[in-house]
């Protein structure tokens, strides 16, 4: 077990290093920050002095090492618009994003998990077709479009929920539902096929044959084994959720990290963009680390590898 842990930890650390490297490569090599950040009419002298100020006139490798060192300390420079440490700006928005993504994944597991299980248990019936059609629709709907429709209907027309903003439970409902749609749909489809696979297993037949109660078989033999692929999926979905939250937060003016990133991109506040993306990426890597551990709990065979 400790070897398994150490191995997974090493991989996660490597992934974080990779993410830092991608952010470095993208922001330093693809665009000249000086040109991006200074106004269009800046003179070559202004550009040069700005580059020196940022330290981007030095050799790339030196820059990279410095970038790694700064990133490790959470130092991404100062935000131009907020005039304080960029990492602080994004960090204080993190609880809102986690709240939104957490609600969405919980909703997704309940709705999608329930729907998938029901569909698999009603193989070949009308219910299965209906659930799977809904799931397909859910996967095909653009997040922001759904968000706009929900705002139009439930906030503008019916007035049940606020059109945007954050702070209360009523603010959370529409964005969480929006974000949970894709997740529910994916979980429903995956769980359905995974349950169908498990139903064919010998141990399910044995459990039934020895006269166990149907509910016991569903919970202990079917659900537990069918959840293994879903557990991995949740790791992948966390990425979709954290990415999707960027759009959802923008649509609903939800005060999370995603919205700050989009606003920072609009005004070219690159320290905030970098800090925000790093924060979300590290969150994602950590979630996957936890999911992998959970995976070991659900399926003891994994630990032996």
């Amino acid at each position: 077990m400790s070897r398994f842990l150490a191995g997974r930890f090493g991989e996660s650390a490597l992934a974080v290093l990779g993410v830092v490297t991608i952010v470095f490569v993208v922001t330093r090599l693809l665009g000249d920050p000086a040109i991006l950040m200074l106004p269009v009419g800046a003179t070559p002298e202004q550009l040069a002095s700005f580059r020196a100020e940022l330290g981007i006139d030095r050799p790339l490798f030196t820059q990279y090492v410095d970038f790694l060192w700064d990133a490790a300390r959470g130092d991404f420079g100062r935000s131009f618009q907020h005039n304080r440490a960029a990492f602080e700006v994004v960090l204080e928005r993190m609880p809102a994003t986690l709240q939104l993504a957490g609600s969405a994944i919980a909703l997704g597991l309940i709705i999608g998990g329930g729907a998938g299980l029901i569909a698999a248990m009603n193989r070949g019936g009308v219910i299965e077709v209906f659930v799977m059609l809904l799931a397909l629709l859910g996967q095909a709907t653009p997040v922001f479009w759904l968000g706009l429709l929900l705002i139009l209907f439930f906030a503008v027309d019916l007035g049940w929920f606020p059109t945007g903003g954050g702070g209360s439970f009523r603010h959370l409902v529409l964005p969480a539902v929006t974000l949970a749609t894709f997740t529910s749909a994916s979980i429903a489809r995956l769980l359905r096929s995974s349950v169908i696979d498990v139903l064919r297993e010998d141990y399910v037949r044995t459990a039934r044959a020895k006269g166990l109660m149907p509910r016991t078989v569903v919970v202990w033999h079917i659900a537990r084994n069918a959840l293994i692929p879903v557990a991995t999926m949740v790791g992948i979905l966390a990425g979709e959720l954290l990415g999707g939250s960027v759009v959802t937060e923008t649509v609903f003016a939800w005060p999370g990290v995603g919205r700050v990133i989009v606003q920072a991109i609009e005004v070219k506040d690159f320290p905030v963009v970098q800090a925000g993306i790093m924060l979300i990426a590290i969150t994602f890597v950590s979630i996957n680390f936890v999911v992998d551990l959970l995976y070991g709990v659900l399926d003891p065979r994994i630990r032996l590898r």
């Binding site: 991989e11 993208v26 693809l30 665009g31 996967q139 709907t141 479009w145 429709l149 990425g239 989009v262």
Partner: protein, 283 residues
Amino acid sequence: MGARGFFRALAASKAGMIGAGLVALFVLLCAAAPLLPVPEPTQSNLRARLMPPTLSWDAIGAHPLGTDNIGRDMLSRILYGGQLTLAIGAAAVVLGGFVGVLLGILAGFRGGITDRILMRLVDIQLAFPLMLLALIVAAALGPSVRNLIIVLALTSWTRYARIVRGQTLALREREFVQSARAIAASPWRIMTRHILPNVMTPALVVATLELARVIILEAALSFLGLGVQPPWPSWGRMLAEGRTYMASAWWIAAFPGLAIMLTVLSVNLLGDWLRDYFDPKLR
């Protein structure tokens, strides 16, 4: 698995038929847009602003799907927007597929350090939420159609690489590859002549499913202002523009969204069917 068997199996599957039929219909309609009796997508008419959808065809200059805030015909914008959206999606899928298949074959065939480096790269990229990767690259490159295609392809190559590598590993041990080796065929020749044709099918399945994902991602990026620039319509761009008029003129945002949803739905149906037909194990 001849062409006839393929079409017979397709005809037998309701979901596959619906998917394939709708995809074909959308592609045809969008491609034929210049031949259809619709105004130019960028032609504005300030006297016909914010006209609601109508079914009456007799009025001169009728707009079946209504008009937007500066009087441009929505139907025309949907059709031309579809051209752009589908073309960007297809280009991204082809570019991502080209890179992914190439690197996947290389990793699987060479093995060793090449394989380990490439697969580690795939893992690292997958540790980065795709939306964020697209966001930061789009922001650094600046918005344009070309950059959009590059960004979308960049989020897509890893999926091809993984599956193609797996296939290549299996193919490498097969007799025809061993024989090619025995007669001293060059690695390049083995990779292009013997392995490539045999990984095209799984790559095609991935490409179809990726097309659906890429269309949604394109729409999201355009929505955030990092995609197609005005006045050219892409579905995501139109949606973003329609957002302001959501409460007074629902059709401006509703129709492009519906177009995206139906297209993605039918591409997904087709992709799922292709995957099940060629290899149920790819799931």
